[in-house]
Symmetry: C2
Subunit: 445 residues, 2 copies
């Protein structure tokens, strides 16, 4: 705040000052495109994608009607179809939208599931339905819980308590028991979320096993592939999403694993027409039925938004420029880099892995153990000290401005680092640097 | 679709082809920045705003945490405070967020109102609350109804039927009667939306009168100023929002009347902390409490989104470059242009105004009556013919590529044109052109 006057005033600033402000904004910002920025699932800066975003801003239009975004609407339609083909739905049939991020895409999935089984909730409210339950694993993204709270299911009690401890690895055995338990308590199971690439561990739920249960009990199956969906582009890794073609809906964020600039998230639905059924309000001033073109091209009434930002063009342009094989190469390379990191640290002195086995996605979760803690027997004291290591190292990383990696606790596990790689600019030397930097900053803690 | 290969394939395209694709995208697009594009509430292309959006794409970051968007988070905080000062809340205190459009901002207002009066719905679902009712006028934006459907209130029956015919001009007398009626039927009134600048007519609900009723019955007052909020910047026109300082929440879209590139919409709330209370889920992997900075700067847990696009910078930069007086001049000029159009056509042969009196916003609603209908007595036949005039003229406008204006029916009124002016590039000669063009295209209908 010092040395950068952010205050807004009545009088205009000079153009020179505006340029200074632009420079300062970049100067004090964080370089998310830097190959040593590992802090988020989204990183990197694809130049074609950036050009696409610049063109999008210049066109400055809105996705709600074909009449003011004809090219973008067609691109969206075609790209969503292509994504549905990759999911494996017959002929790529179905529906979809680009939405403002994975949390909203996941919220759509819950809304659509509710509309499918209890369409009268749209007009009559939740009191028209029995007490519905959503199932998701403890490791799933918090947006499922958030959707439950927002849409009137409640984030606890009638939903969450029942599945709060559902770990992805036990999902088959546990899920059916939990469904039966919910039914027995008078709840109506509605929806199961299978995570394809969990946020912290990068774990993939066993979709086929979950799909079997969903079929048996007639439940909506959503696959949250916000982070892992990109792996569908890779012949080597797409098996991790086996069964995704059995899902009723899928979230897939090209702005994460595929390096598309923020924001670019798709909600894909197998049943055609259900998005519009769920959300349409037929506003006369936007969606006139007597337009001179086929108004089924107007997408606005499918959305919970009215105006909708053009998120498709940068993605479409990157796909054109790279081809599917370009995305595949990028994904394979990122997973190789993670494997490289995993191999380097799994037996290295001063590192402990958070979970056993090879990471399924690019997530490598580990504790760095400073020399002072290495001889200490495990117990509350060591855990307490270890809990403070990652925040301290991260603070030093940020102060030196050399790299950035995320950390968090999880369940009864104290703060650990989560490394993720999605930046096309990252190389093995950046991974090497990270390890050196971790040790440089952490050695005296 | 002819002559523009939109298909995506496995192999990459050449850079030359990518440039051709970019040119074609702009060529077949719609010039929303053209001074004769009057089709939407958002139009124009502010060059500083565009530069801001380009810088934003280059920074490619995310609003959820201070650590990766420190400058943007501070700018957002400061700009929201400035907006709250203009609303008139003491010291600009309160809360807020930029959200992906006015529909989502309005959805926030309903969620927050519910959380204020029935916080247990967040965890226990709608079954923990009585049957709640939302009140809004027939002329309000459909997003209130959409929010009702999504959040589990229902769009009809327990909400909408009760206020479906509430016209803004009768709101004082009617609203209280409808509240009492709802209570008598066993519903619990929760929320009243007052529209500041309705989508079609540009009408302003009498906020003070509505606020009196809300106070009397202890209801949440939301002001949807998506379209009209900008008038707060004008000393001449801000009286149209008198009483807005009594609102509990306000939607205000700088991407509409203030010419900020899409998207830029704010939800502003008078009570501090309630946004986080309503939406937080405290995801450990993003919002660690032991970061090395004051984590109240992290905005992510206030939102229903997880990732959130940076919508603030272009707006902040425009405000710096124009000053408040620059926005004021823009708004005053647009309203003058509308007045100019209104004066030109109100008594002109071949035009009928849809509502009496001077427009309150830039919306001028009218029928163009082709010569063939001018002598015809009013009745179903004339109405039916008149209903087809606007779509035909609009189709011809789009085919000749000269101008674009929206039309719609409303209630028992057949299709009429809605002219709106928000483009800083529009001048009187563009208004003159519109009239000539209307008559050129419509004379033989």
């Amino acid at each position: 705040m010092e040395g950068f006057n952010l205050e807004l005033s009545d009088q205009p600033e000079s153009l020179e000052q505006i340029l200074v402000d632009c420079r300062d904004t970049l100067k004090y910002g964080v370089r998310t495109g830097h190959p040593r920025f590992f802090n988020q699932l989204s990183s990197g800066l694809d130049i074609i994608g950036l050009a696409g975003e610049w063109l999008t801003s210049t066109a400055n239009t809105n996705m709600f009607t074909y009449e003011i975004a004809p090219v973008f609407v067609l691109m969206e339609q075609l790209t969503l179809k292509k994504m549905r083909e990759m999911i494996g739905w017959p002929d790529g049939e179905g529906d979809g939208l680009f939405s403002p991020g994975g949390a909203i895409s996941n919220m759509y999935s819950v809304m659509i599931a509710r509309y499918k089984y209890f369409p009268e909730v749209k007009t009559k409210g939740m009191s028209a339905a029995p007490r519905l339950v959503l199932f998701t694993s403890e490791h799933s993204h918090y947006s499922i819980k958030k959707a439950g709270a927002a849409l009137g299911f409640g984030s606890e009690n009638n939903a969450m308590d029942l599945y709060d401890k559902l770990l992805h690895i036990f999902v088959f055995a546990d899920l059916e028991a939990k469904i039966l338990d919910a039914k027995q308590k008078g709840y109506v199971p509605l929806f199961v979320n299978a995570t394809a690439g969990s946020t912290v561990y990068g774990a993939f739920d066993p979709i086929n096993e979950i799909a079997d249960i969903c079929e048996k009990y007639n439940l909506w199956l959503h696959v949250d592939g916000a982070w892992g969906g990109g792996l569908l582009m890779s012949r080597k890794h797409r098996h991790k999403l086996s069964g995704v073609e059995r899902a009723d809906s899928v979230t897939w964020n090209p702005h994460k694993m595929m390096g598309v600039p923020l924001q670019c998230s798709a909600i894909l639905v197998r049943e055609k027409g259900i998005l519009a059924g769920c959300n349409s309000m037929c506003a006369g001033y936007l969606f006139q039925p007597d337009k001179q073109y086929d108004v089924t091209y107007d997408t606005g009434d499918k959305a919970i938004q009215c105006g909708r930002h053009v998120d498709i063009f940068k993605f479409w342009l990157m796909w054109k420029a790279k081809g599917t094989i370009g995305f595949e190469q990028h994904i394979d390379k990122c997973l190789d880099l993670s494997q490289y990191l995993y191999n380097k640290i799994k037996n290295r002195e001063g590192y402990e892995m958070v979970f056993d086995g090879v990471p399924q996605h690019t997530n490598v979760c580990f504790w760095y153990i400073p020399p002072s803690l290495r001889g200490m027997p495990d117990g509350p004291e060591r855990q307490e000290k270890l809990h403070r290591v990652a925040p301290k190292i991260k603070a030093m990383m940020m102060e030196s401005g050399t790299t950035m990696v995320g950390y968090q606790p999880q369940g009864n596990k104290v703060n650990f680092f989560r490394m993720v790689v999605s930046n096309p600019a990252a190389t093995q030397s950046d991974i090497d640097f990270l390890i050196e930097e971790m040790e440089r900053l952490g050695q005296d803690l």
